[in-house]
């Protein structure tokens, strides 16, 4: 706990932020029905961020490999089309 707080943070504000954070986690990580405890949520959030970072690394590798082989001009049109679709 930080000792240098210059305003009192109410329990309610923390709970609001915690439930917002919980709603952002994907379904598979939201184990346990209803409101998870703060500790559990922090743990799930940390794991989720780590897995997202790993996915970014993995996707960067794949993109780098694709860049060599794909004819980029034709690819870009297709990419933009699918991005606009989603």
């Amino acid at each position: 706990m930080s000792s240098r707080r210059n305003r009192v943070v109410s329990e309610e504000e923390i709970n609001e932020l915690i439930s917002k954070l919980q709603s952002l986690l994907p379904e598979t990580r939201r184990r346990g029905a209803g409101r998870a405890s703060a500790a559990k949520l922090l743990k799930e959030t940390c794991n989720y961020i780590r897995s997202l970072n790993r996915e970014v690394d993995d996707l960067s590798d794949r993109l780098s490999a694709l860049m060599e082989t794909v004819d980029t001009n034709s690819a870009e049109a297709e990419i933009i089309r699918s991005l606009l679709r989603s």
Binding site: M1, S2, S3, R4, R5, R7, V9, E13, I14, L17, I18, K20, L21, L24, L25, A39, L42, K43, T45, C46, Y48, I49, R50, L52, N53, E55, V56, D57, L59, S60, D61, R62, L63, S64, A65, L66, M67, E68, T69, V70, D71, T72, S74, A75, E76, E78, I79, I80, R81, S82, L83, L84, S86
Partner: protein, 157 residues
Amino acid sequence: MYRRSFKDTKSSLGSPNPNFSKPMVALRFLRALSLVRCSGPGARSPSYRARGIRRAAYACMAASAGPRRAWSRALLRKIRRRPGRGLRRPRAVIRRRRPVGGGDPLEVALRRLVPGGGCMEYCRLLEEAADYVKCLAMQVRLMQTIVDSASHVNSID
């Protein structure tokens, strides 16, 4: 320097950043990708290019999120501070580097994962983490879409 009262954070909880729509991020990222591609396609190893793509991904994500977020500011600072430059910041610049001594190891872990999370209040950390997770997930989905459609094009040829 970047202190905000809770009233500010409360109003920013619901208001979306107009720059951070999926098409905007996508365009920014595609432009960055084309720059990576143009910077010597044959001369560099794939891993070097992958690192460049990764840096571009985080940079685009942070740039699209805008300067209103502490995590995006911290991320852009980190990315723009390229290693090996040798240029130290002047001593006159006092950085607010007062790390919050947390007793809770989970809180400490979260502070390490969220860019710029070291010196924030707990309340602010949760808010920044939520926004960071949202943007990071969107960036991952964007990159997945690009990889999928590029692979699709590849398989057609």
